[in-house]
């Protein structure tokens, strides 16, 4: 993580027919980082990523991507960025090889055949190269899409909810690949809903209503949010939940298997809430450090799903 940041934009703003979808967004992503975008649906994650790679023209703001002007140099930026769209956007009626060759030629690579062969081998798809991309399973489609946007060896990888609808094994493999790229110096900006993806990131920005609510190193997020937390185990969890709800004083209540976690910014109120269940038979209350999950549930509760406000930017445009 050295040198100038790969993404350095300030005041990025985007409006769709009068509605502000991204509002004065600042973003600095250092080289080699894996940077996570979290936030509810329609919070402006996709729009921000599209502005960074030149697919949308910002209505306001300025800055650089890979040292190039984000407003003027989008052609040059595109040559050095790999963008993996949320929806599978390769050609279902082309074979795996044809899709990769198509993309390789679009980047004017000199050794199309070799690059595609290497990519197919790395994918483990060399013997299925002639299969139509449309017939692949979700996990394989996603690997193919990643291979396609890596074929020109970009310095910056933009991933928009890359593992939606992919099984856990494929998701793990996917993240192993991203980690490998990061080790080689590739910078990654990834939007996600999934906690197990969020923990893979070096740094996380939490977005709601087009604004950045928090921007910190992943490990620092719970501290930034400032939550205290308790873990409650009891044989009668339903009764414990009822009592907690009656007592109040917490911001987050979530069940984790046979336990309940409660968390809140008001430490005293949280302690009082925990007290209400201590006398339950077999109850055990532990003070714990609030984790990423509690922090995000807290943040999400504050910023309810933006679909309700008609701020969906994922489809169309």
């Amino acid at each position: 993580m050295n040198g100038a940041p790969v993404i350095d934009v300030k005041g990025l703003t985007k409006k769709f027919s009068g509605r502000t979808v991204v509002d004065h967004f600042d973003l600095r992503v250092p080289r080699g980082a894996i940077y996570g975008f979290l936030g509810p649906n329609g919070s402006g994650k996709t729009t921000t990523i599209r502005m960074v790679c030149g697919l949308l023209k910002p209505d306001g703001g300025a800055g650089t991507v890979l040292g190039l002007d984000v407003l003027k140099d989008s052609d040059k930026i595109k040559e050095r960025v790999g963008y993996m769209t949320q929806r599978f956007s390769l050609y279902g009626d082309l074979s795996i090889r044809e899709n990769l060759e198509f993309v390789a030629r679009l980047y004017s690579l000199s050794d199309v055949r070799d690059r595609v062969d290497a990519s197919l081998k790395a994918l483990g798809l060399a013997d299925r190269a002639k299969q139509l991309a449309g017939t692949l399973s979700g996990g394989w489609k996603q690997r193919l899409a990643l291979a396609a946007c890596m074929i020109h060896e970009p310095e910056l990888l933009l991933l928009d909810e890359p593992t939606a609808g992919v099984d856990p094994k494929a998701r793990r493999d996917f993240w192993d690949a991203i980690r490998d790229y990061a080790a080689e110096g590739v910078t990654t900006l990834v939007s996600t809903h999934y906690m197990d993806e969020a923990v893979q990131c070096d740094r996380i920005a939490f977005i709601a209503y087009g604004k950045k609510l928090i921007d910190a190193r992943t490990a620092d997020i719970p501290g930034e949010v400032g939550l205290s937390a308790r873990r409650i185990e009891a044989p009668a969890l339903d009764e414990a939940t009822r009592r907690l709800k009656l007592a109040g004083g917490y911001d987050v209540l979530a069940r984790f298997g046979a336990a309940i976690h409660i968390a809140g910014r008001d430490a005293a109120a949280l302690a009082a809430a925990a007290k209400s269940v201590e006398d339950l038979p077999g109850a055990e209350v532990d003070i714990i450090d609030a984790g990423l999950e509690e922090a995000f549930i807290y943040l999400m509760t504050g910023a309810t799903d933006n679909f309700a406000n008609g701020l969906d930017t994922r489809v169309g445009a």
């Binding site: 040559e79 963008y83 198509f102 993309v103 679009l106 004017s108 946007c149």
Partner: protein, 375 residues
């Protein structure tokens, strides 16, 4: 900078997709065959055995040999002899006969004297296509019928002009198109229909399938997408042309009098103009459905105002103005000139440059319409 590699990328991709899309590919090839069959056979452009009435006010040997020649030709079938002109007119108007041939009084005498008597051929031209063939044939039939007599005429009368005059009245419709027009015209219609239809979904399909997002995230330029997406269909256009021309020659016996160079120059520009028109539609249409509707919006004037269906000269000025803006109008003229009249570059240049201008305007509009962002 336009990159050949990127054009090649789009070009090859389109080619593969075209080949994979079997139904569409089949339609592109089947349309010419189907249209030719419909227009060429089901709709007989050169009808024979037209019912004919004759009114003979002079019945000499010349008249008899003319009647014999008419009867021998396939075109006329003499069904009635009428006593006077009003009876003939009545038959013609009622549709009982399609032709009325009147041999005037003293025909034989005037013929020999060199007074050039008039043979009246009145045709029911309400269907111009049906009337055109027999009318064209009538003169030739008369010439042949009188040929032996001509040799016996005094030398002073052999001036080169026939010693009679065939007066043709195309009744009910003064404009008559010749049947030869249909098949060459069909070439323009087939190319317009299929090529505009196929390129009108060039971009909308990418938008609907969501592939446009990945495509636009690459460095590919608008002009590269346009060229790469349209050029594969040039080949389709040439295959269709080959089918129509082969059928025109082998099945319909239509001559190809002109040289290949002016024809191919016009063909190439016309095909490209159609592809650009379709591509422009695809930059405007939001869905494939919309693209189809817009395509049909273009078809109607192409068929009606281009001179394919109706004579161009007979249309009002505003309709002709629209027609002049359609590439097919100019192409039809060129094809007819080249195929039927043997025209060269000099004769067709007046219709060649309008196609070039239309082509340039369409390409410019398409590029101006195309957005390389998702805004």
């Amino acid at each position: 900078m336009i990159s050949l590699s990127r054009i090649k990328a789009v070009f090859l991709k389109e080619l593969v997709q075209m080949r994979r899309d079997r139904p569409t590919f089949a339609i592109m090839i089947m349309v010419p065959i189907m249209q030719l069959t419909l227009f060429g056979f089901a709709i007989d452009t050169d009808p024979r055995n037209m019912p004919t009435a004759v009114e003979l006010r002079d019945e000499g040997p010349l008249t008899r040999s003319l009647l014999a020649s008419l009867a021998q030709s396939d075109y006329f079938r003499i069904v009635r002899r009428v006593a006077n002109e009003s009876e003939g007119e009545r038959l013609l108007r009622s549709g009982a006969v399609s032709f009325l041939i009147v041999i005037p009084e003293h025909f034989e005498r005037d013929f020999v004297r060199g007074d050039r008597p008039q043979i009246l051929i009145a045709a029911d031209a309400s269907d111009p296509v049906a009337a055109a063939g027999p009318i064209a044939a009538a003169n030739e039939i008369a010439r042949r019928a009188f040929a032996p007599e001509l040799d016996r005429l005094p030398r002073r009368l052999r001036t080169g002009l026939p010693p009679y005059e065939a007066v043709i009245h195309r009744q009910y419709n003064p404009a008559g198109e010749t049947s030869m027009n249909i098949v060459p015209g069909l070439l323009g219609i087939i190319l317009t229909m299929t090529l505009i239809m196929i390129t009108s979904i060039a971009l909308t399909r990418e938008v609907e399938r969501g592939t446009i997002e990945a495509l636009l995230s690459t460095p590919v330029r608008a002009s590269e997408i346009m060229i790469g997406k349209t050029t594969p269909y040039i080949m389709i256009g040439f295959v269709q042309t080959a089918i129509v021309l082969a059928a025109a020659r082998l099945i319909f016996g239509i001559p190809f009098l002109g040289g290949p160079a002016p024809f191919f120059a016009a063909l190439f520009m016309f095909i490209f103009a159609n592809l650009m028109l379709g591509y422009l539609i695809s930059t405007v249409a939001k869905t494939q459905m919309q693209a189809m509707q817009m395509t049909f919006f273009v078809f109607l004037p192409s068929i009606l105002l281009s001179g394919f269906m109706f004579p161009f000269a007979a249309m009002p000025a505003w309709a002709r103005a629209i027609g002049e803006c359609l590439p097919i109008t100019h192409f039809l003229r060129i094809v007819r000139e080249v195929m039927l009249k043997g025209a060269g570059f000099a004769e067709i240049s007046g219709d060649l440059w309008p196609i070039a201008i239309i082509l340039a305007v369409l390409a410019g509009l398409s590029l101006a319409r195309f957005r390389r962002t998702l805004d």
